[in-house]
Amino acid sequence: MLNVPTLAQMKASGDAPDVLFWVGCAGSFDDRAKKITKAFAKLLEKAGIKYAVLGTEESCTGDPAKRAGNEFLFQMQAFGNIQTLNAYEVKDIVTTCPHCFNTLKNEYPELGGNYTVKHHSQYLQELLNEGKLSIEGGAFKGKKITFHDPCYLGRANGVYEAPRALIEKLDSEMVELKRSRANGLCCGAGGAQMFKEAEKGEKEINIERTEEALQANPDIIAAGCPFCNTMLTDGVKHFEKESKVKVYDLAELVAKAEDLI
């Protein structure tokens, strides 16, 4: 069992964390995404970071509501979260979800929430660069890893290098997808599509994307977003390749290399 401190506990003991780990709804409730959350928490612990989570005080950032057109609900959520965050005087946030990352970073400031927000790929890269984490051993030596750029990390915020830097440190073979970086193809989950059936068409977007990823013939498809992870995992299952090709989050890859999971 992990010892995960909450902000409330810390404050009660007169302490404050260096960084708030914003877990997100998928990271809190989705069985697959919870593994990513745990892997990242273990990494934070290993690196000796004084972190905390909001726990039961965390609520949806409002991203899916906003993209679905429900601006009212989004701003209600933002208002509540900003009140909580500001009450705890939070300054630094790290999150494993690019949607939370984008919303907290870009849309909250105008509503009164000003924080330094990092995606966990950026944060892990910093920990590695500062020597607080180091990847040893060759868990992924010779493995072919490809990376799927999440739209809300890549195109939306221009973060392309941090995830790649992590994969490179794994001593594995990085293969780029045909459509990558700014040209990356969406997994199909963005814009609240995750929560509805796709409109009628010839194909599911995640099948199109997974097909492309499988063409690169990887051992591992790396993702940096819990929703992309779900879409790609489903895609791999669709092609019945789940025994050969694994979909892992960047945090899981680093944690595996560190023998933490």
């Binding site: 069992m1 745990k38 039961t56 899916p64 009212f72 959520q77 409109e199």
Partner: protein, 440 residues
């Protein structure tokens, strides 16, 4: 003398009609809601120079990028000669700038080379559209007019360049004959090779006729082309510049926080807010709508985007929904916005400002099915060579559907209910948010 008078009349008419049409478009764009983009001027100029002038975003597809750059550079540079044509036309002179000597000779020779390159590029473009039938140029929104428009532009350019070279060939031969009025000036590497062999042995009168016809054809063609622009996708040659200058400089993931919603949320959530402190509503003011139902609910930048679109289809070909056979096409969103705006503008001119034709952008032009197919991935925005943002229009229409009509797909309504009730898009209790830490 007659020629000078005719030229001045033609020029006057052309400028008059063009400014009238330009005014129509500017007025239409101003029908959009206010948007303040007076900030970050140096960054805006840099963006315009890079994206519009330098065409950096075209580079993603190298073959059309090179061909397009040739036509663009050729068009800009050859148009320097139009300056001379204008002076010659008004004052009845001939090659008035020829006093520049070797510089002039070089310039005319260089223009000829460019003219040939433009001509060849346009032919290749025609082949790509009509013989190779590249997929991007088709699709449901590419009906007969958009297809014809693209071909007309290319054919007009081929004809204009041919007229220029023919005129030069006749001019060159007349210069050789020491014909009156035809000063010996210019160098003609291309027209000499291409057209002179056909004109050999023609009398001076015939050559003068060819030269004059070529001259008139070239300048009338340019004036006609100028007036074709406001009705055509080719208008992008002008609009690309203001459109990139005013384009969004923020992170693409940052969607606007609707200020009218912010006001309401603050009133509701803030215990210290005084509802009576709000000024009494202006009863004459138009009721504000949440989101966009029609083009007049969009902001002027979105409307300018619509007039800038050149229907190249890079957005649609990158769109994940479109690639997987969904109805959504970002290009169709832009074309629908422009067509509807044109219609609204014409209605105002005919029936006055208050006229309601009972139609709207939503449903009459853009269907709900298109809107709900979008993943908000920003691929269309990234792909546009002139920084058009189809996603912002899709979002504003979605906002209207949800906030004014409560018309979201059923699953999304359930998602919203979950967020409202338990702070997550799924039905999990907020009290269980930290359960993951207890699980091994």
């Amino acid at each position: 003398m007659i020629q000078q008078i005719l030229f001045c009349i033609a020029l006057g008419i052309a400028i008059f009609i063009f400014s009238k049409n330009l005014k129509f478009i500017i007025r239409n764009i101003k029908l959009g809601k206010d948007l303040d983009v007076s900030d970050r001027k140096p960054e805006r100029i840099t963006t315009m120079l890079k994206v519009a002038f330098g065409q950096t975003k075209m580079a993603a597809r190298p073959i059309p990028a090179i061909l397009h750059f040739i036509v663009y550079a050729g068009f800009m540079i050859i148009n320097i000669e139009v300056l001379e044509i204008l002076i010659d036309g008004i004052f009845g002179t001939h090659r008035v700038l020829s006093f520049l000597g070797p510089v002039y000779d070089f310039a005319i020779g260089f223009f000829e080379v460019l003219a040939l390159l433009v001509l060849v590029s346009c032919v290749v473009f025609l082949v790509r559209r009509n013989v190779l039938r590249i997929k991007r140029f088709f699709g449901r929104e590419m009906t007969s007019w958009p297809k014809a428009d693209a071909n007309y532009i290319l054919i007009i350019e081929v004809v204009l360049m041919t007229a220029l070279l023919k005129m030069n060939a006749a001019d060159y031969l007349l210069q050789q004959m020491d014909a009156d009025h035809y000063v010996k000036a210019g160098s003609f590497p291309i027209s000499k090779a291409l057209f002179v062999p056909f004109f050999e042995g023609f009398s001076a009168e015939t050559l003068m006729l060819i030269e004059r016809v070529g001259w008139w054809f070239h300048i009338l063609g340019i004036l006609a082309f100028l007036n074709y622009l406001p009705f055509s996708k080719h208008f992008h040659i002008i609009m690309a510049f203001p459109n990139t200058y005013f384009s969004n400089l923020d992170a693409k993931g940052r969607f606007t926080n609707m200020p009218e919603v912010k006001k309401e949320v603050e009133l509701m959530m803030d215990p210290t807010a005084d509802p009576f402190a709000v000024p009494a509503p202006d009863t004459n003011a138009e009721p504000t709508r949440f989101g966009a139902k029609d083009v007049t609910d969009l902001n002027w930048r979105q409307l300018m985007n619509a007039y800038t679109c050149t229907e190249c289809g890079r957005c649609t070909s990158e769109c994940p929904a479109n690639q997987t056979g969904k109805l959504l096409s970002p290009r169709a969103i832009m074309m629908a916005t422009r067509d509807r705006l044109d219609e609204v503008g014409k209605n105002i001119d005919k029936h006055g400002e208050k006229h309601d034709d009972g139609k709207a952008l939503l449903r009459d032009y853009i269907s709900e099915e298109e809107l709900w197919a979008c993943t908000s991935c920003n691929a269309c925005v990234e792909a546009c060579p002139v920084n058009i943002d189809p996603l912002s229009i899709i979002m504003d229409l979605r906002r209207y559907l949800v906030l004014e009509e409560s018309k979201a797909p059923q699953e999304l309504n359930m998602m919203s209910t979950n967020i409202e009730n338990n702070g997550a898009p799924w039905q999990f209790s907020q009290a269980d948010r930290l359960k993951w830490a207890q699980e091994s």
